[in-house]
């Protein structure tokens, strides 16, 4: 063994390290299997005579690029809302004007710079009356600047990050539950299920989204009097959680909360099960609501996860009455079956979010009885309604205007049906629940 080969080996190891680092940073491929983007057909202008008006809704869709799948679904949902309204004859205002809607949209290529160019175009050349956000927090942040600049009210969907609503904007309204509240429902549920439980371990993927969620959950849990016995991140590439799980076991938590994305979350759940960790509740981000989570078999049983929306959620007029809220639009069942018959698959929450964004705008226009942006904005500020997507209400404070404060994450849990198959049940909030939570998990 000579010096030269040692040096070479070191060099190679360093190079391999670099390669591995680069590979780690490469974007994951989209989850495939989706039909390609369909260009949204422009809403047919209803040729109603006298007082008919066409309202232009502008948005971009990621027909190409990494957000293609989710964005497609979101656009499909939005388009479905528009078709529903237009097919029903549009909205009739107090003065007899009949409003119909027309979509103007472009492909943003999942690219921020394109988003800014295109939203500027939508606001100036296409004279969009209202805007809907693109998919994802990043693209929405770029679009929000333009909406604000041109004073066009924008409903955002598919964008959970809190940051966009803390910039002092006044025209941007968030339909999704913000990231900071992804796990707070899980803490609330634990409080309701077991007042004796006091210890929570929060373990999360070291990524921007999960870290933000975990930090907010920690603050919330501590505020509620919980002892956060472990608060620690793990590398996004982690495949072997055994050492980590030993550490969790040593902290003896009642509940484990955290996770990150699908891959790490499902591996973590599998290894928790293999090690037979004795906890009463496990709540993970992103992974559990995915249908493929059921492939874990027994390891999936009892695992809970927050989701923006689920087809099974029972939001309905009755639920709204019980909660003392105004109800608007189709029920969750109606939306789901309409979507299924149109698309041949169950709607994901991305699609539901697209429909919900349109519905919120419609509600605001009806409340304002006008399409004047200032009046619609005022109506959005005052909105407090339950729709099939859940409760919707916006923050009107100066520091976080437009932030969603009504919508709660629903929590799903994998349970077994009578024939022993794993099924996803909505267990929280009680207004949308389809089954009682299993607690403690077996």
């Amino acid at each position: 063994m000579n010096r030269k080969s040692l040096f070479l080996l070191t060099l190679v190891a360093a190079f391999a390290l670099l390669l591995a680092a680069c590979a780690g940073g490469a974007p994951a491929p989209a989850a495939g299997g989706e039909e390609s983007a369909q260009a949204p057909a422009a809403g047919e202008a209803a040729a109603a005579e006298g007082g008919a008006q066409e309202v232009v809704i502008g948005f971009t869709a990621s027909q190409t690029g990494k957000y293609n799948v989710e964005s497609d679904r979101q656009t499909t949902g939005l388009q479905m809302w528009m078709d529903d309204v237009n097919n029903a004859g549009g909205i009739t205002l107090g003065d007899g004007t009949v409003l119909t809607f027309k979509a103007v949209s472009y492909d943003d290529e999942s690219n921020k710079d394109r988003v800014q160019e295109l939203y500027t175009r939508l606001a100036t050349e296409d004279n969009a009356d209202f805007l809907i956000s693109p998919y994802s927090s990043g693209l929405t942040a770029a679009a929000a600047v333009i909406a604000e600049q041109y004073g066009k009210p924008m409903i955002t969907t598919g964008a959970a990050s809190d940051a966009t609503y803390k910039q002092g904007y006044t025209q941007v309204y968030q339909a999704y539950t913000p990231a900071s509240r992804y796990l707070t429902s899980a803490v609330d549920m634990l409080t309701a299920l077991d007042p004796e439980a006091k210890k929570i371990a929060i373990v999360y993927e070291n990524s921007k989204f999960s870290t933000g969620v975990a930090e907010a959950a920690q603050a919330y849990a501590q505020e509620k009097g919980y002892d956060v016995v472990l608060f620690e991140g793990y590398d996004p590439d982690t495949k072997d959680f055994n050492a980590f799980i030993n550490k969790i076991e040593a902290a003896k938590p009642d509940a484990i909360m955290g996770g990150g994305h699908f891959q790490d979350g499902s591996t973590f759940a599998r290894q928790l099960n293999e090690k037979g960790v004795d906890v009463k509740a496990v709540t993970l981000l992103v992974a559990p609501p995915e249908p493929t989570f059921a492939e874990l078999g027994d390891a999936a049983l009892g695992v809970t996860g927050p989701s923006q929306w689920e087809p099974a959620a029972k939001y309905s007029e009755e639920a709204a009455q019980e909660a003392g809220l105004e109800w608007f639009g189709p029920s969750s069942d109606e939306f789901t079956s309409a979507y299924e018959s149109a698309k041949g698959e169950a709607p994901s929450y991305h699609a539901a979010g697209g429909y919900a964004a349109g519905l919120l705008l419609q509600k605001a226009i009806q409340d304002a009885d006008s399409v004047d942006p200032a009046k619609v904005k005022e109506a959005l500020d005052n909105l407090d309604v339950m729709i099939f997507f859940g409760h919707e209400k916006f923050d009107t404070s100066e520091e976080s205007h437009g932030l969603q404060v009504g919508h709660d994450m629903i929590i799903i849990q994998w349970q077994k049906d009578d024939s022993g198959n794993l099924v996803k049940q909505v267990v929280w909030p009680p207004a949308g629940a389809t089954a009682d939570p299993i607690y403690p998990i077996p």
């Binding site: 070479l8 590979a23 050492a243």
Partner: protein, 286 residues
């Protein structure tokens, strides 16, 4: 605290044996022919997917599939040796680095095209065993045992059989070995084949316990470099030893500090060993 330390240490040792096996292929090839096989990681991935495909589509028990993959690995090793290594074996080291790196890129390219970079799981469970407070998944225990058996067989082969002795002779001094009538090219091919076989087998074992993807071999290749330096370059038994140390670090460090410190400590150790004991803890090949 005591229980956690023991559990974590045992968990670490179990995975460490497999790390050691993965590194053994790398160190064997380096020890015999001074070639750093940059296709090591992708070859580990070949083992992972071989076992995955045989198990998932043909229903073959993963440990039987491992035997099939061992044979395939050996043949693949011969093939790679004659196509990519033999011609550059006497050229400056950069040539063999580049040629094995090309093999790396080819395997990754084909694998990504066929399998994407998504993760897969070998849905195989052996339940779990409990030893007092220590609970271990059966598949992990089996994988560790299998790795020990393979290591034992490698030693029997190297020290008790004629081809094994030839390999050691060629590693020691190729020119003299040739003068003694040892067909060095064939022996080099055999050594390379065995090195690849070890990588493939390690990959197959990993597939039984952890999720896999086509790039997953990379992190084991990286660990292998650290292990090889820890244990001593070109010393297969040292690799096992280095693997156990790495496993212990991964098991025990998280007990006392944040998990994210594990790679920092591993690579700090790597640099430290290179500085103060470049021949490795167990001594390098002379």
């Amino acid at each position: 605290m005591g229980e956690v330390l023991i559990t974590s240490a045992l968990d670490g040792l179990l995975i460490g044996v497999i790390y050691g096996l993965a590194a053994m292929g790398l160190t064997l090839i380096f020890g015999v022919m001074d070639v750093i096989n940059l296709a090591h990681g992708p070859l580990i991935a070949v083992g992972m997917f071989g076992v995955y495909l045989l198990f998932t589509f043909l229903g073959i028990n993963p440990f039987v599939a491992l035997l099939i993959m061992a044979v395939i690995g050996l043949l693949l090793g011969f093939f790679i040796y004659f196509v990519a290594v033999n011609r550059v074996i006497d050229a400056p080291p950069l040539s063999s680095l580049l040629s094995t790196f090309s093999v790396n890129m080819m395997i990754i390219g084909v694998g990504t095209a066929l399998l994407t970079t998504s993760s897969y799981n070998v849905e195989y469970s052996l339940g779990s065993f409990e030893f007092g407070f220590f609970r271990v998944p059966g598949a992990r225990l089996m994988a560790a045992l299998a790795a020990l058996v393979v290591t034992g067989l490698l030693y029997l082969f190297m020290y008790r059989t004629r081809p094994g002795k030839y390999i050691r002779a060629v590693a020691d001094n190729r020119a003299s070995a040739e003068l003694m009538g040892i067909p060095s090219t064939r022996i080099l091919a055999l050594a390379f084949g065995i090195g690849v076989m070890l990588a493939v087998v390690a990959g197959g074992l990993i597939a039984t316990i952890l999720p896999i993807n086509i790039l997953a071999g990379g992190s084991f290749e990286l660990k292998s470099f650290v292990i090889v330096v820890l244990g001593g370059l070109g010393n297969p038994l040292g690799a096992l030893f280095g693997g156990l140390i790495l496993g212990l670090i991964e098991g025990l460090v998280p007990v006392v500090m944040k998990t994210t410190w594990v790679p920092v400590i591993e690579y700090a150790l790597f640099v430290l060993i290179l500085l103060v004991r470049p021949q490795g803890l167990m001594g390098a090949k002379k």
